[in-house]
């Protein structure tokens, strides 16, 4: 390119970094003022090539110069340096002001004293930021000097430049120790004493990255800012997506993400007929591979799913003399508890179907049961208003008697094992701290018929007499969050549950024989599933397969619900429903 001297120094002589952070045409002209930068360096002047508006976008919130700078940064991050430079040129907007470019170059060249001076000139208003940045730079200088065995110089830097910054004494100690003992620097996370050029260059690049995070964003734009903004937008689209129920959805930048209703189970996949009377309760196991149902025919049934997701009867558990009102899976899904109405609790081995133990309270009937999180103890509610805890062999070791309760029916325990939740009066739910025996009550305005606890123990879903379902947050202060309406309940106990991806949905049974599904946060009714011919008493959402729902009905059957058109699609496991999101299927 001719004999001009400048051309003999190709840009690649500078240490190449992937982010291209150091390019910015320092032709001295920059017209843009990032807010915290002193205006001495930057002068606003109209640019010929641009002739455009300062504010972009239909909402009037995007500033042109910020927009262009972010795009330039993105181009450099992607490695398109020529395009980045061309953009800066054409728009007349520099990615970095000339001072900042100088600063960055000085860092990469190791011109420490100069760059501390430049740092001051950049004019950052926050003193603590300037101090932290200076410290980072000086520490790098210190370590590089130690690296080069210039111990006295390093010591001088420490004494005259670093200590006067009045940083924490522990830091000073650590630095001082590094002088005699290189092995101490490693646990401190400080650069290792590697004296090769490459290592030094790498650590300077790292220093630049740290400074970038430290300095105000307008001075040095954070790396990959544009990517970050786009990811934010995508995340927002996801939260706004009402029917979002699959983990494996691909998101495209071309259209807003919006799942269709086809993500919610809406079609009966299977009808399970084995009970000879009303099915009152059912629940999936934690692994989602089993379903346990209980009925007024005095039995409970364990159903097992095969690889295709089809359920078949595994064991029918007989022994109760009364209708079985609830079941409870142990944490490891190997054991099941069943509870007869005001009768006994039985513990069963899931794989063999044999009854391992019968728990009873002489003279009284048990009405509800559950496992303690440890799995070594169970607790149950008795119709004399008490809640008891016993070990697996039935030895009772703790008991609490309620003051106001009539019959402790529904009973749950939080994940940390600290709180027992039950209905304590017609319109109240009791949260009992088991250790302190402190009682807290959630007051409702109507009679409560049943409740259920979310998987993370943060929410409570309460079914009321007046056909509403209320969602309460029980983390911290108790607050009523949403109400769900639409289903029918007049005479019986109907149960509802949480389900779907991140438990974003609520499902409930109903006396009109249908299953109702709502969106948890908005409260919108998004699905009504007909099919049963009797009141639907209970629903359970498969915890591992978000596209599967099960319902138990007075018509003596259990229905398994899944996605529409799923049967034609699935070859492999039932936990996969691949749909493209751009509208086409």
């Amino acid at each position: 390119m001719g004999g001009v001297e400048d051309d003999n120094e190709p840009a690649s002589k500078r240490i190449k970094i992937s982010s291209g952070v150091l390019r910015g045409l320092s032709n001295g002209s920059s017209c843009i003022e990032p807010i915290s930068v002193s205006s001495i360096d930057l002068m606003a002047r109209p640019l010929p090539s641009e002739g455009g508006e300062e504010i972009l976008g239909s909402k009037g919130v995007i500033k042109r110069h910020e927009f262009v700078r972010i795009i330039a940064e993105a181009l450099y991050s992607l490695g398109y340096e020529k395009s980045g430079a061309r953009l800066e040129d054409e728009s007349g907007i520099n990615l970095h002001s000339s001072l900042v470019s100088e600063f960055m170059q000085q860092i990469l060249n190791g011109q420490w004293d100069e760059c501390v001076v430049t740092l001051q000139k950049i004019g950052i208003t926050d003193d603590s930021v300037v101090k932290s940045a200076s410290l980072l730079i000086l520490e790098q200088k210190f370590f590089e000097l130690l690296d080069q065995e210039k111990i006295m110089d390093a010591l001088k830097t420490l004494r005259t430049e670093i200590t006067p910054l009045q940083i924490k004494h522990n830091r000073i100690r650590a630095l001082a120790s590094c002088i005699i003992s290189p092995c101490l620097s490693v646990p401190l996370g400080l650069p290792s004493r590697n004296s090769s050029d490459i290592a030094r260059a790498k650590s300077r690049t790292k220093l630049l990255e740290e400074l970038q995070k430290l300095l105000p964003a307008a001075v040095m734009i954070p790396e990959r800012r544009l990517e970050h903004l786009v990811e934010q937008a995508l995340a927002l689209q996801c939260t706004a997506c009402t029917f979002h129920n699959s983990v494996d959805k691909e998101m495209s930048l071309y259209t807003d993400h919006q799942c269709g209703k086809d993500q919610i189970p809406s079609q009966t996949l299977q009808i399970l007929q084995a009970h000879t009377n009303e099915v009152w309760f059912l629940q999936f196991s934690h692994s989602g591979r089993h379903l346990a149902s209980s009925s007024s025919d005095r039995t409970a049934i364990i159903w097992e799913a095969d690889e295709k997701g089809s359920f078949s009867l595994k064991h029918q558990l007989t022994g109760h003399q009364k209708p079985v009102c609830s079941v409870s899976w142990s944490r490891d899904d190997r054991q099941l508890l069943t509870c007869g109405v005001e009768e006994t609790v039985r513990r069963w081995n899931v794989s063999t179907g044999e009854c391992l133990h019968v728990y009873e309270k002489t003279g009284h009937g048990i009405v509800s049961c559950g496992w303690l999180p440890s799995g070594n103890c169970i607790f149950y509610g008795v119709n004399d208003r008490s809640i008891c805890m016993c070990d697996l062999e039935g030895r009772e070791f703790d008991c609490w008697k309620g003051q106001r309760t009539l019959k402790i029916s529904d009973l749950e325990i939080t994940n940390d094992g600290r709180q027992i939740i039950s209905i304590c009066k017609e319109t109240g739910i009791l949260l009992l701290d088991w250790e302190t025996r402190a009682e807290k009550v959630i007051e409702e305005s109507q009679t409560i018929t049943s409740f259920s606890l979310s998987e993370d123990s943060r929410f409570l879903l309460i079914n009321l007499l007046n056909q509403e379902i209320h969602l309460w947050s029980i983390q911290g202060e108790y607050k009523l969050i949403t109400k769900y309406k639409g289903h029918k309940r007049t005479r019986f106990v109907i149960r509802s549950c949480f389900g779907g991806l991140d438990q974003a949905f609520i499902a409930s049974g109903s006396e009109d024989s249908q299953v109702y599904v709502w969106h948890k946060s908005t409260g919108d009714l998004i699905g009504v599933l007909p099919g049963h011919s009797g009141a639907v008493n209970c629903v359970s959402w498969n915890p591992k397969n978000h596209h599967m729902l099960a319902s138990a009905s007075d018509d003596r059957t259990i229905r398994i619900w899944g996605l529409n058109n799923l049967s034609t699609r699935h070859k492999n496991s039932h936990s996969n429903g691949n749909h493209s999101c751009n509208g086409g299927t």
Partner: protein, 215 residues
């Protein structure tokens, strides 16, 4: 309120015991001339062979107290050759005294070199690391007396180290490393404090040695 004198007055104290206590104190602190006149006044026998050693010990103690740790180490090696080998902690303390001395006289380069050659090897053992770091931190300050570690440069620290050295030498020569006087006073204080606690504040005031000596 004080302890009822009738409880302790009847107890007989032999003169010879008192003399022994005083003697041990004098020996411990190397008061050679006082010791000589005391023994001649009381007609006691002088403890065998300790006078010469006492002289040496006194010199060592004073060198350490002044901060001339290297000299102290040298003489200690002469007097008791494996002492410092067996007492690594003490050795480290003495070396660090020298380091502190160098820092005080602003000879930083020397201090650094000394630290690298003599102190750094101790850094391999975990229990010395913290102390080593304390000392090294002194290097980072242009005015170490104003740094958080300033006590390491002070008289109190030197006193502490010198005392330890003294005790180690005594122990090495099979002499008691604590004078009887010291022990007795310590025990008295503890006993008095226990009495105060047991009988409650109303019966006995908390014991203060200083007040007692003044009264």
């Amino acid at each position: 309120m004080d302890v009822d004198p009738r409880q302790y007055e009847p107890i007989p104290i032999k003169d010879t015991d008192v003399h022994a206590v005083v003697l041990s104190y004098l020996v411990h602190n190397c008061f050679k001339e006082t010791l000589e006149s005391f023994t001649s006044c009381t007609g006691m026998k002088q403890p065998s062979g300790c006078l010469e050693d006492m002289e040496k010990r006194k010199r060592i103690f004073h060198f350490a107290l002044e901060g001339n740790a290297l000299k102290a180490i040298e003489l200690t090696e002469e007097l008791a050759p494996d002492l410092l080998e067996k007492n690594k902690d003490l050795h480290f303390d003495l070396l660090s005294l020298h380091f502190a001395e160098l820092i005080c006289s602003k000879r930083c380069t020397e201090a650094l070199e000394f630290a690298q050659s003599k102190l750094a090897p101790f850094g391999k053992v975990q229990k010395y690391v913290e102390k080593l770091e304390d000392f090294m931190a002194l290097l980072a300050y242009e005015e170490p007396e104003k740094s958080p570690m300033f006590q390491l440069l002070g008289l109190e620290y030197r006193q502490q180290v010198s005392d330890s050295l003294n005790r180690a030498i005594l122990a090495n020569s099979n002499l008691p490393s604590y004078s009887a006087m010291e022990r007795l006073i310590q025990q008295t204080i503890v006993v008095r404090q226990l009495l105060s606690q047991e009988h409650g504040k109303d019966t006995f005031a908390p014991f203060s040695l200083r007040d007692y000596l003044k009264s």
